[in-house]
Amino acid sequence: MSNRNKRKKKQREERAFLEVEREREQTLRLRKPTTKQRMLYFFVGLIMNILPTYLFFSIYEMDLIKSLPLFAFVTIICSIILSMGYHNVSFFLKHRLIKKSGVNFQIKRTKKKATGGEREERQKKQLESTITTQAVSLSLLYNSLFYLAIVLIFAFYITWIFQAPTNYILSLAVASSIVTYISSTKIQ
């Protein structure tokens, strides 16, 4: 093979390697949630944990003041676990929706700015943010429904034989763990 062909082949391999690296970096960047996203997931997780806490306080008649430390601790821990589950599902859904849209989101770095290129980039960014909103809202809806269903099944049909505080800890912890575990398997 001539030297020129060898050089061309090497350049092509380097370009392909750089493409793969760029895609991997983008994937890793998207995998970490932004601060806003983290706060949103935690807030929604907190509401999702306060709802079953209300049921235990009203139906199982747990004393609110005596059980307040337990309620606060379990709610916060389960909200953190649940927020991880929300992000896993929204990350998975975002990639799927991007592929489905059929639009190439990679920013082309050219020396000359093509006419109408800026407008196209703006539209791509808008589309990306819309897809992000869609993925986040779908993740919140799907995970919240799933979480509530598991908590109610555990609290009233499986762990009801235990005393109310034990029932509370078991049902919330198990439900948040199941939801987060299943959401992490989707990414893999």
């Binding site: 709802l51 199982y60 008649e61 589309l127 809806l141 919240s144």
Partner: protein, 189 residues
Amino acid sequence: MKILFVILLLLASLVFTEVEQGNLIVEKDILVTTLPHTEEEFTILYTLYNVGNGPVYDVRLQDSDNFPKDKYSTELSQIDTNWDQIEAESNATHAVILKRHSVGSDFLGPATVLFKNTPNGQDLTSTSTYIGRLNFTPKSPGESRKSPNWEHWIIFSVVAALVLVIPFLLFKKSEKKKKRLAMNLRKKK
């Protein structure tokens, strides 16, 4: 003969003259639909009926012996109470809310009511009906979950629906926008 007749008349007037005096019948009842458990409130209702033809004075109801303080606590009112006067053919009621703190079995006997027929007269006693033996057991965890609790479920459902509807509406709104933007970008290609 005439003197005998007058004496007989006087005796008869003494016998048949109405003396106004009261007479109390006391009912003691427990107002529950199911047997109470420990740490659960229950109400005891005392009803005093004056079935006599005169008022009764200085009426005192005493029933603390049936509810010792080491086992029972009262909510809002005391067990023993008194009335200055209960008119003839009228009644008075007294309700007590109690709570038992320990598991056990108690015989809830009759209450004692002391009263007088005249303001400065002698004390007379009346006893109420009794409730009988009650077994106080702790509430089992399954009991509260089986009862309807409609109002709690309604509140839970409303708040859960609100929290779930908002992301759904956001999803629908962004779906339309996404379709429009994706179509515009595909056209330019």
